[in-house]
């Protein structure tokens, strides 16, 4: 994305560390991105890659005595990391709103949907109960909750998972935020309901002109809704590109791993899934050099020492990657992998000698 001056959200070199008994967990280690109005950024990665911490930090929800936050979060030019608690409270809901994964634990079980929505409205607007309720109904209709005028008086447990998530989205939209952050909004839902919720989020973004951050572990989900995708690994963005570009020519071996380990309906049925070996690293003692090197089938000796920066791909400035392999070697590797080769086959076809054991 062009880091244009008009970006709604700019995150610069964000670092978040949590002090624990075992040491500092560096959940985010220098993450930067920008997001314009009306655009959706998808963030994908495994558990513990830092994608949720990034979202929570933008919302000012990671503050605490044992948390160390560095960097900048600029919303319309306003610095949020240094903002007072009072200012943050005013911005939350009003400027930035969030939709969480599990609507059943995010909604209060004892209050009716309408009451919870009215509360969200009245937290930011000086309106009477009747007006707040009218607004609540309007919101439920906006998110296409079927029979909204009756369901406004339902309790959360009386709604299905998809309806509850619609109610959560309605609440997030109560004050017309400029930025909507959706953290795994469809993970708890059935696949047909997931498709409906993703379609709804797309429509709302276009109707309301919001910017959106969509966080998911599922590349398929972000592919459906995001204009641009950032792939996170061990607290960093390792690849970022416009959605079409990311799938057409992914550059990072971790992105390849995510793509080839996802079972697909359009691949030949016999095609083997290629898992990413090993598991995500400790964020207390992250690996030296490239953080992906212990799991990377193409790692070279120097990758253990040199930490690659996120840099534009030659010839495609909109795409950035943090990888030490030469661009032509990456291209050759992915062409093989996309054609169904195993990492070993791709490596020898691309002329990379197997790395001698360390």
């Amino acid at each position: 994305m062009s880091a244009g001056a008009e970006a709604l959200l700019r995150v610069e070199e964000l670092r978040v560390g949590f002090a624990t008994g075992d040491g500092v967990v560096q959940a985010l280690d220098g993450v930067s991105f920008a997001l314009e109005r009306g655009r959706t950024l998808g963030i994908v990665g495994e558990s513990g890659s830092g994608k949720s911490v990034a979202a929570l930090t933008v919302m000012g929800l990671t503050r605490g005595r044992r948390t160390h936050v560095e960097g900048q979060v600029l919303l319309d030019g306003e610095e949020l990391l240094g903002a007072t608690a009072e200012r943050l409270r005013a911005l939350r809901g009003e400027a930035v709103a969030m939709v969480f994964q599990d609507p059943l634990s995010a909604l209060h079980p004892f209050y009716r949907i309408g009451a919870q929505l009215s509360e969200a409205v009245r937290a930011h607007r000086d309106v009477d109960r009747a007006a707040a309720r009218r607004r609540a109904l309007e919101l439920l209709e906006l998110v296409r909750l079927p029979e909204a005028s009756q369901r406004i008086d339902a309790y959360p447990h009386e709604l299905s998972g998809g309806m509850r998530q619609r109610a959560m989205i309605a609440m997030a939209l109560a004050n017309e935020p400029r930025l909507l952050i959706a953290d795994e909004p469809t993970t708890a839902l059935d696949v047909t309901v997931q498709a409906q919720i993703l379609a709804l989020l797309r429509t709302l973004r276009d109707e309301l002109g919001m910017a959106m951050i969509l966080i998911s572990h599922d590349l398929g989900v972000v592919a459906e809704a995001a204009d641009e995708i950032a792939v996170m690994y061990a607290g960093r963005i390792v690849e970022q590109a416009p959605t079409q570009r990311l799938f057409a020519a992914p550059q990072h071996p971790y992105t390849w791993g995510l793509l080839t380990s996802t079972p697909r309906l359009d691949a030949p049925r016999g095609a083997a899934l290629v898992p990413i070996p090993g598991r995500p690293p400790s964020l207390i003692h992250p690996p030296s050099g490239c953080r992906f090197h212990p799991r990377c089938p193409y790692a070279r000796e120097e990758h253990r020492r040199v930490d690659p920066p996120l840099a534009p791909v030659p010839g495609t400035p909109a795409q950035q990657v943090a990888c030490l392999l030469p661009a032509d070697v990456r291209g050759a590797l992915w062409r093989r992998l996309a054609a169904g080769a195993t990492p070993d086959e791709a490596r020898s076809a691309a002329g990379l000698a197997p790395e001698p054991a360390a």
Binding site: E46, V191, L219, V221, A248, P263, R269, P275, R279, A338
Partner: protein, 274 residues
């Protein structure tokens, strides 16, 4: 080939109650409603459908973790619907289950060695300590865990590793039928592929008959020979996996398939020509 498991006109109803102390019955829900199905020895059958369609209930009925309201269950040609006591215990050795949540299904206060050894204790097998230990370590190795980790506790393992422990326990007694209920849906994508590969490998090596319960059609397509699509307690479509995915017959199957997000790899054109 003779079917290993056959269920005939199987029905399972659960009462709906209201109130806490004096539970009044206010109705029944038919979780499984007149299902007839046979699974051949060595076959992998997928049970798919959305939340509440009855797929887990059917899976549990098949290995008699639940008692059917009506209908019959045959195992290896024999009617076992009314099996109880020692007979049922004997059947348990041949039919095992892998659960979805590898944290919830492992006792946090026991070592993984003890967890995997428990089936032997329950069935009074391998009474010799050293022998049992050797067998457990062999099982851990078989599912890709380090046998040295025998004395560690579940919390020391990642989700994928815990699922491996659950699988080791399930295959400990050498079952012929394994019912896996959403075995990968709690795991990260990269780890999912590892567990799918493990299940496939164990099935082939041990000649297991596998019933895979999943809401993820892509995973099912990857592992299964035949797929049963369930909706509201009934099977709406049952077909060999290629037929189901290439020419789905039931509108509900079409709806499920259409809802799956696609990866636009290669800018929309797929590499399916290879």
């Amino acid at each position: 080939m003779t079917p290993l498991v056959e269920v005939d006109r199987l029905v399972k109803r659960f009462p709906l109650t209201r109130g806490v102390v004096f539970q009044r019955r206010v109705g029944v829900v038919s979780a499984v409603d007149d299902v007839t199905l046979a699974v051949a020895e060595g076959e992998t059958l997928g049970l798919v459908g959305e939340t509440g369609c009855g797929k887990s209930t059917l899976g549990r009925l098949m290995i008699q973790l639940l008692e059917p309201t009506s209908g019959t269950i045959r195992f290896d040609g024999e009617d076992v619907t009314t099996a109880r006591g020692a007979r049922l215990q004997g059947l348990r050795r041949e039919r095992q289950m892998v659960f979805q949540d590898p944290s919830g299904s492992l006792n946090p206060r026991r070592t993984i060695g003890a967890i995997v050894a428990e089936p032997f204790a329950i069935h009074g097998l391998l009474r010799d300590r050293d022998e049992r230990r050797a067998r457990v370590q062999e099982l851990l190795e078989q599912v890709g865990l380090n046998p040295e980790h025998y004395n560690r506790y579940p919390h020391e393992f990642s989700g994928g590793q815990r699922q491996r422990v659950g699988i080791a326990r399930a295959i400990a007694l050498g079952p012929r039928l394994l019912v896996a209920d959403e075995p990968v849906s709690a795991l990260d994508v990269s780890i999912q592929a590892q567990i799918v590969a493990l299940l496939r490998d164990l099935r082939d090596r041990l000649g297991l008959t596998l019933v895979l319960i999943s809401h993820d059609l892509a995973v099912v397509r990857h592992l299964c020979d035949r797929v049963a699509v369930m909706r509201a307690g009934a099977i709406v479509e049952l077909a060999p996996v290629d037929e189901l995915f290439e020419a789905p017959q039931h509108p509900y199957t079409c709806e499920l398939l259409a809802a799956i997000p696609r990866l636009p790899i290669g800018g929309g054109q797929s590499s399916s020509s290879t």
